[in-house]
Amino acid sequence: MLSRPKRAHSSRVVARLLQSLFVVWAAATAAFVLMRLAPGDPYTTRIDVPANERAQWSAQRGFDQPIPVQYVKWLRNLAVGDFGQSSYFKRPVLDVLRDVLPRTLLLMSLALTASVLLGMAIGAWQGTRVGTTGDSLLSTGSLLAYSVPEFWLGILLVQLFAQSLGWLPASGMVSTEYEYLPLSARIVDRLRHLVLPLTALTLLGTSLFARFQRSSMRDAWNEPFVQTARAKGLTERGVRWHAWRTALVPVVTMFGLMFPSLLGGAVFVESIFSWPGMGHTAVLAVNARDYNLAVAAVIVGSVMTVSGSLLADVLQRAVDPRTAA
């Protein structure tokens, strides 16, 4: 009896993984088709290259072959992790990804962690005090934070903290003199560069989580089991904990589902702060018609989204006994 649901569970996991793989493949294919349909080529922006040299370049990279042939070749390479050459950075796309992706992941994971903690704390506090002045103020605040576009927030932060006050660096990941600094100063330098982009991303994420946690906490707070818990003589702290456990489920699901919007935000935030991550690189890539790098950015985005929704599933199972098979 015990082995049966277990097998059903593992086959469901396999099916889910296959489905995710399909989604990534389909997104990659769509990106490939889109890039090949686009007018112009990676050399459109290079007026300095003579025509015959350009034809030679194209032939070298297989751009003169029919699209289906290119596609099969591209897919075969992709399967072994070969994304091709980046025409902008003049080195393999995989190398570029290896450099820029960790920087975005660092920014995103820190922003997510901070957003979840802050957002849940604020939202849970509000959810038990719906209608009070404090709740209204915080609601207005999170509505405002939620409505400010990341790039404008970035401009304001740079203007205030970097230009006017001069407290923090405006752009980049390290200072120009980074190489000559001792270790402790290097760490401080890196942290100082993190503060502003992280603040911009975190403010957005926090408002999202707070809004979500507030409504789920409010719903849980009105459930009969909260009354029961109180009637049993639980302390107010205990009652709150009880309600929060239930209110956690939708918020935790949200955690995984936030990856794409956070990555979208990272595109703007990284561009404002010249943070050399995936988002900033994607903007450079599309502007330079660097097809291989642009396709890789789409694939990375799709992988992140898919892993986010897988994570949402796993987390939901972990916190909600009803869905844990």
Binding site: M35, P39, L143, S147, P149, V158, L263, G264, A297, G301
Partner: protein
């Protein structure tokens, strides 16, 4: 009407009035360059309450005209997104079975790529999109959520008594969908569309800011911001005022969406 609904509605009406009356409300034409004197960027003054940009154009006039462009793009593209999403979702939920499974997998794929990346790729690779192209692009990348929600509602509604009764009485499929199912989906559509407008205003501004959306010299809130972004320190007024316009418009739509969600309570149809 509740106060929560009233304030954002009033603000929205103000924005619409500004958008409609921009040519009459503005002190100058949006692209007018002074014909005499030195062409330079001047700080806010009585003659130019929002200052002028480096080409000497009046920022207030540009922001007012930009309202028209920014709101117009957002409204039209959300209209496209809502229509496409409703058709797709209704088809999927109503017919169900294998078609539903296929359409939902397609939707998974579409949802898997962050929208900003798609917008970046298309607008950069096709180069300087004209306004209708931009509207179409934003509309055709914005319907996935609508489709998913509508599909859920239709799926839940199609076995309800009144729908079954309508079909039993011999009402045609299209008519049942149109007259008996769709009215129950309105709350969902109105709320998602309102929040969609907020999101689209911000997205268009972001794209135009990166130089990939509305192209100069056309004034949209994002493109004005983009004009001033290289000189925020010395010419803060070029970025500040359109930014305030964006934030207040987005906030208005978000507040309206929130209030509508509480008043109309979409999703209740499924209960």
């Amino acid at each position: 009407m509740s106060r929560r609904l009233l304030w954002p509605l009033a603000a929205l009406v103000v924005f619409l009035i500004i958008a409609a009356g921009a040519p009459w409300l503005s002190p100058a034409a949006p692209n007018a360059i002074p014909t005499e004197g030195i062409i330079a960027s001047s700080p806010p003054s009585a003659a130019h309450p929002f200052g002028t940009d480096p080409s000497g154009r009046d920022v207030l006039s540009r922001v007012l005209h930009g309202t028209r462009i920014s709101l117009g793009i957002a409204l039209l593209s959300v209209a496209i997104a809502t229509t496409v999403g409703t058709l797709f979702g209704a088809l999927s939920g109503w017919i169900g079975g294998r078609l539903d499974a296929i359409l939902m997998r397609l939707l998974d794929v579409a949802l898997s790529v962050p929208r900003v990346l798609v917008l970046l790729c298309v607008s950069a690779l096709w180069g300087a999109l004209p306004l209708p192209g931009l509207v179409l692009l934003l509309g055709l990348t914005g319907w996935y959520d609508v489709a998913r929600l509508v599909r859920g509602d239709v799926f839940a509604l199609k076995d309800r008594e009144f729908v079954v009764a309508a079909r039993a009485m011999g009402t045609g499929e299209t008519r049942v969908l149109w007259r008996h199912v769709l009215p129950h989906i309105w709350p969902t559509l109105v709320v998602t569309a309102t929040l969609g407008i907020a999101h689209t205003i911000a997205l268009e501004a972001g794209l135009s800011f990166l130089g990939l959306g509305v192209q100069p010299p056309q004034a949209s809130w994002g493109s004005i911001l983009s004009d001033g972004s290289a000189m925020v320190s010395s010419r803060w007024w070029i970025t500040l005022f359109p930014g305030i316009a964006i934030v207040s418009a987005v906030m208005t739509c978000n507040a309206l969406g929130d209030a509508l969600r509480e008043t109309l309570a979409p999703g209740q149809v499924a209960a």
